[in-house]
């Protein structure tokens, strides 16, 4: 009897797994994708110096901002040190698929 009850209970319950991982809601302060607002940047190089994984390379003269997706550890320290809030970490989960240019190390 106990077994039947248990089986029926499990039949009616939602599965523990989720079909699509992208459908799981993430919290508001989730650290996902690094986004840089180009017009707010003052090229102070603070993010480049602070990054533990050396994933940001900034050239002040040429005004080039290179972000290495595969090196980034999403610690959020670049967002902390940025004086003008030009770098923002969006609560968008990192993708499981990679584009070719992201793989550049």
């Amino acid at each position: 009897m106990g077994l039947v009850k248990y089986a029926l209970k499990n039949l009616l319950r939602r599965p523990a797994t989720v079909e699509d991982p992208a459908a799981i809601p993430v919290p508001d302060d989730y650290r996902g994708t690094v986004f840089m607002h180009r017009d707010e940047c003052i090229w102070c190089l603070r993010c480049m110096k602070a990054c533990p994984a050396n994933s940001i390379i900034v050239d002040r003269e040429k005004e080039v901002f290179v972000y290495k997706y595969m090196k980034c550890i999403t610690c959020g320290i670049c967002e902390d040190v940025c004086p003008t809030d030009a770098i923002e970490i969006l609560p968008v989960p990192r993708e499981a698929k990679y584009k070719r240019e992201w793989l550049e190390y």
Partner: protein
């Protein structure tokens, strides 16, 4: 003349690589040697760097217990700099440390259940572990590498909403743990498989320097939380001890610790004071010091030396797995070969920590 049988580094039962050489006489183990270093990453050398960057290196020593690594490192640097962090910081760190212990023990129980052929329990444990991972994600913003600590305090506060979510999930988790305990302790096969296997006495624990739950399962009181770092001096805490010293008691003590940790978290939330979350320390550090914390696997030790600048001269990490490995030479001898794979996992190895 014993037969030499290699076990690992690649073996279906081993999650991470370690190599055992077993000397067998028929089916009984008569001698053991082990070889480590398959996951050496050179993290100690990489940590001779700016101490703010080192916090993130320290977090990445281990993929399971990242908070305890960063907390120990940060505490060592704070000790050098002479900073006293605010009480709220201490309590939040303690909550995260205990949450980490919960998910680490559930992960271990799942792997161990798998190794003795109890696949269903493996799935149940890992399903319930997700509750804890969801809590951690909502409190800190990430599942494993929280990046919460900084020298002098925390990088961000935890929200009231997050605490409410945590308490709700913890209630559900506690119920599941009770169910798992029930199915584990009433299973005749599990009891027969675990009771009396890989016995270790209290004296042997002292001689081999065993730490953490493995030592406490043999009645050897070895818990760094009794030192009273962070908020442990402000809450009512005493380590759980068991006298059996076999594989069954290693399961029982971890399950008891899970329930104890839930209690500690609830007490921390009850006592959580309002206030600041500390200020970031930016000057250099000088001198040398060490700090010990209780990781889920046992005592974690960090040695830090600074020369007055922001760059550290030397960081030495001693992880609990390295301390616990020595006892394998004792517990493996006399075992049946069929019990070797389970016993190799029962002392909770984390090779990624161990090789650094």
């Amino acid at each position: 003349m014993p037969t030499i049988v290699p076990f690992g580094p690649q073996h279906p039962i081993l999650v991470e690589p370690i190599r055992y050489l077993l000397a067998l006489e028929e089916e009984t183990v008569v001698g053991v040697e082990y070889e480590i270093g398959y996951l050496h990453k050179g993290l100690e050398k990489a940590m001779e760097n700016d101490y703010i960057k080192d916090i993130y290196f320290a977090e990445r020593v281990c993929g399971i217990c990242s908070m305890v690594h960063s907390t120990t490192f940060v505490n060592a640097v704070e000790k050098l700099a002479g900073i006293e962090v605010p009480e709220r910081v201490k309590f939040i760190r303690t909550i995260l440390l205990e949450l980490e212990r919960l998910h680490s023990h559930m992960l271990w129980l799942g792997i161990v259940a798998d190794s003795i052929g109890f696949q269903n329990l493996f799935m149940l444990c890992w399903r319930d572990r997700e509750l804890i991972m969801d809590i951690l994600e909502s409190l800190t913003g990430n599942r494993i590498h929280f990046s919460m600590n900084t020298v002098g305090g925390l990088r961000k506060d935890i929200s009231e909403k997050g605490i409410r979510f945590m308490l709700g999930n913890l209630d559900r988790f506690a119920l599941s743990v009770r169910k798992i305990e029930n199915s584990l302790y009433n299973d005749l096969t599990v009891l027969k498989r675990l009771r009396g296997v890989a016995y270790l006495t209290r004296e042997d624990c002292k001689r081999y320097g065993v730490v953490g739950p493995n030592a406490r399962a043999s009645g050897y009181s070895n818990d760094s939380r009794m030192d009273g770092y962070e908020a442990y001096e402000m809450i009512d805490f005493s380590p759980i001890l068991k006298a059996g010293g076999d594989n069954l008691d290693r399961v029982v003590i971890r399950m008891d610790e899970v329930l104890q940790s839930i209690g500690l978290i609830r007490e921390c939330v009850r006592l959580l004071p309002d206030g600041e979350i500390g200020e970031k320390y930016k000057r250099g550090v000088e001198g040398e010091t060490f700090f010990r914390c209780e990781a889920p696997r046992g005592e974690l030790f960090y040695y830090v030396r600074g020369n007055g600048s922001k760059k550290l001269e030397r960081v030495k990490i001693r992880t609990p797995t390295l301390a616990n490995l020595a006892m394998m030479e004792k517990v493996m001898i006399g075992l049946e070969f069929a019990n070797v794979p389970a016993t190799a996992l029962f002392f909770d190895p984390c090779m990624s920590c161990q090789d650094r």
